[in-house]
């Protein structure tokens, strides 16, 4: 009776060991899949901008920029500052953008140059017409206003985002598996030890 019990315990210990190894492997696999929230911050900035929450938009863009220093973020921040009427800040960010992106797409370069002219003018003598124009200015997006096509810089952003999405999804799934196994092993081991029979127990077969 006793020998049978010992064999049984060995078999159980082996299965617990295998489960633990699998759980550890899966857990390590999730290390490279930490969530990257640049995309969500960038989108958040855009949404807040559209809701005219300029302060919130600036804060979101700043946070996004801390994660990834894409020049276009500087441009968006410049646009937001301009909408806020903060010409000096807008001008600073337009200039930072051009410094970070010396060779922007021609269309953007042209736009930025126009905005710089506008902001300088605002600093010198803001007019009602300029204010009106500023209000009519569409929100900055990654799409060309005229053609509707995705801008090259935004293509890069999107590709980077897609890669991150994949990583994030793998991370979530791997993490779930690891969490499931860890929780299961924990609960199982706990229950197993709660069910563990005393050493040397004599068992009568019915």
């Amino acid at each position: 009776m006793l020998s049978r019990n010992n064999v049984f315990v060995q078999r159980c210990n082996r299965s617990i060991l295998y489960s633990s190894i699998i759980a550890l492997w899966v857990l390590l696999g999730t290390g490279s899949a930490l969530a990257d929230d640049f995309d969500s911050l960038f989108r958040r900035g855009m949404n807040l901008y559209q809701k005219k929450d300029f302060e919130g938009a600036i804060e979101a863009f700043q946070s996004a920029y801390k994660l990834h220093q894409f020049p276009r973020v500087l441009l968006n921040m410049a646009q937001v500052y301009r909408k806020m009427g903060n010409a000096q800040q807008a001008l600073d960010f337009y200039q930072q953008y051009l410094k970070a992106e010396p060779n922007p797409p021609p269309k953007i370069k042209l736009d930025v140059e126009q905005y710089i002219i506008q902001t300088k003018a605002m600093l010198e003598a803001p007019s009602l017409q300029a204010e009106e124009d500023r209000r009519r200015e569409p929100a900055p997006t990654g799409y060309d206003k005229q053609t509707g096509q995705m801008m090259p810089w935004y293509v890069e952003v999107q590709e980077a985002q897609n890669k991150r999405k994949k990583k994030l999804l793998i991370g979530i799934i791997s993490g779930s598996i690891a969490a499931g196994i860890i929780i299961g092993v924990g609960v199982g081991v706990g229950l197993h030890y709660r069910n563990k029979l005393p050493d040397g127990l004599t068992i009568f077969e019915y």
Binding site: F8, I173, S176, G180, I203, F204
Partner: protein, 445 residues
């Protein structure tokens, strides 16, 4: 986190937990509380619902007095209620020190805990009738040792105590006879066989492996009247049986030979015994060897067998003066140990209607004494005698149990009234039976 990830987590958690928990035994673990420190074995009788009881025992070394525990593994397919009865014993005797019970529901998997809180029971004398087994009616007992005790009785009932557990042995009709025998005597031999004899010509040998054999009878030229065998002595493959017929109370001696595999039936007054005029019912036999046997029965009949075909009648006198013979004594028990002075007999005067008689040899004759050592008459019949030693015997009968030593038979007090129809002595105590009751009592040296 996507919904399916949460679901996967839960599923994996459950499957992992179940895969590990499935390693857990489906075992009822019974903790014993209040186990006596003197315990040398623990008996467990257990069953699910109304099943027959199963029985197992923990021997010394299989439990700790400080934290006694054992497990019972029920079939995985069974649910219901597991009922457990627990008895603690010492010295291989069937007197429980503790007893208790517990139950466990089998509906849950894994380890199921149960606790049996044990009550303390006075050890000895005891009624050894606690276990959930069937105790024979009209019980007759023989104890070779404390761990080899046989109790037999009506309906061919056989109960064995092995030192830790009682076992009911159910004999088929082919062995027990039709109608089923009422066993009148049981005795073991030094080869491990146990011999049972009773009414309806019934004589059975159960070998050391537990295999029973019904012994065939060879009546030769005798009328085949049904014989009730009343006593047995066996050794080295030979058995001697005492018997009587119900219809005409004739005396019979049966001799079983391993060579023939049969019991040769002899009537007392016919060849080869030829004790003419003395064929009265015989009720007991005892031998010191196969060539020194004593048969006793009705009408003060005592036959001494000394080997071959040598059977002789032995007279009993009325008192130690070796004068006149007594009135008819229905002799029911005999003890033999090789010398005349060691031979002791018991019976009842007035053809069974009087008080008890103690018969011993005084160097000159066997004489009957109708009083114990305090000069008191016995309350009634004396029915059985068993030896601890030649000078230290146990005698049982109606409303009395005596310890018979050189100084005389002393009435043992503290026992129930009733007809103690059999007794069997051990070195440290004795068993006695009445109805279905089994008594054990220690005796001082």
């Amino acid at each position: 986190m996507p919904k399916h990830a949460g679901l996967a987590t839960v599923t994996l958690a459950l499957s992992s937990a179940l895969s590990i928990v499935s390693c857990g035994e489906h075992v009822v673990v019974v903790d014993l509380v209040n186990l006596s420190a003197e315990t040398s074995s623990v008996a467990a009788y257990y069953r699910i619902d109304t099943d027959a009881y199963h029985a197992s025992a923990l021997q010394s070394g299989q439990f700790q007095i400080s934290s006694p525990v054992f497990g019972i593994r029920p079939p995985s397919s069974r649910d219901g209620t597991l009922a457990v009865q627990v008895f603690a014993y010492k010295n291989n005797l069937p007197c429980a020190l503790n007893k208790g019970s517990t139950e466990a529901k089998l509906s849950t998997a894994g380890k199921i805990n149960a606790t049996a809180v044990l009550d303390v029971i006075p050890f000895a004398p005891c009624k050894a009738n606690d276990a959930p087994v069937s105790y024979p009616a009209e019980a007759i007992i023989w104890a070779g040792t404390a761990s080899n005790v046989w109790i037999v009785g009506k309906d061919a009932a056989v109960l064995r105590w092995d030192g830790t557990l009682f076992h009911n042995i159910v004999l088929p009709d082919s062995i027990a006879g039709t109608p089923r025998a009422t066993w009148k005597a049981v005795r073991g031999d030094s080869q491990g066989n146990t011999w049972l004899v009773g009414d309806h010509d019934s004589a059975v040998r159960i070998d050391a492996a537990g295999n029973p054999t019904r012994l065939a009878l060879d009546f030769g030229s005798l009328n085949q009247l049904p014989v009730t065998w009343t006593g047995v002595y066996a050794e080295s493959g030979t058995a001697y049986l005492s018997g009587t017929t119900d219809s005409d109370a004739q005396g019979y001696i049966g001799i079983y030979s391993a060579a023939t595999g049969k019991v040769t039936v002899n009537q007392v007054d016919k060849a080869p015994i030829n004790l003419s005029g003395s064929s009265y019912g015989l009720y007991a036999v005892d031998c010191s060897s196969l060539n020194d046997c004593w048969y006793v029965g009705e009408r003060s009949l005592v036959i001494h067998y000394t080997g071959g075909t040598n059977y002789g009648l032995v007279g009993i006198k009325n008192d130690a003066t070796c004068g006149s013979p007594p009135s008819d004594i229905s002799l029911r028990g005999v003890y033999a140990n090789g010398t005349l002075s060691s031979v002791k007999m018991v019976g009842t005067g007035n053809a069974g209607g009087g008080t008890g008689r103690f018969i011993a040899h005084n160097g000159t004759c066997f004489f009957a004494n109708d009083k114990d050592q305090s000069s008191s008459f016995t309350p009634g019949s004396l029915l059985a005698i068993s030896g601890r030693r030649p000078d230290d015997l146990i005698v049982s009968g109606k409303d009395a149990i005596y310890r018979w030593r050189a100084s005389g038979a002393a009435l043992l007090t503290g026992y129930e009234k009733g007809t103690w129809q059999s007794a069997s002595a051990l070195s440290g105590g004795f068993f006695a039976t009445q109805a279905s009751q089994i008594l054990y009592s220690d005796l001082a040296p």
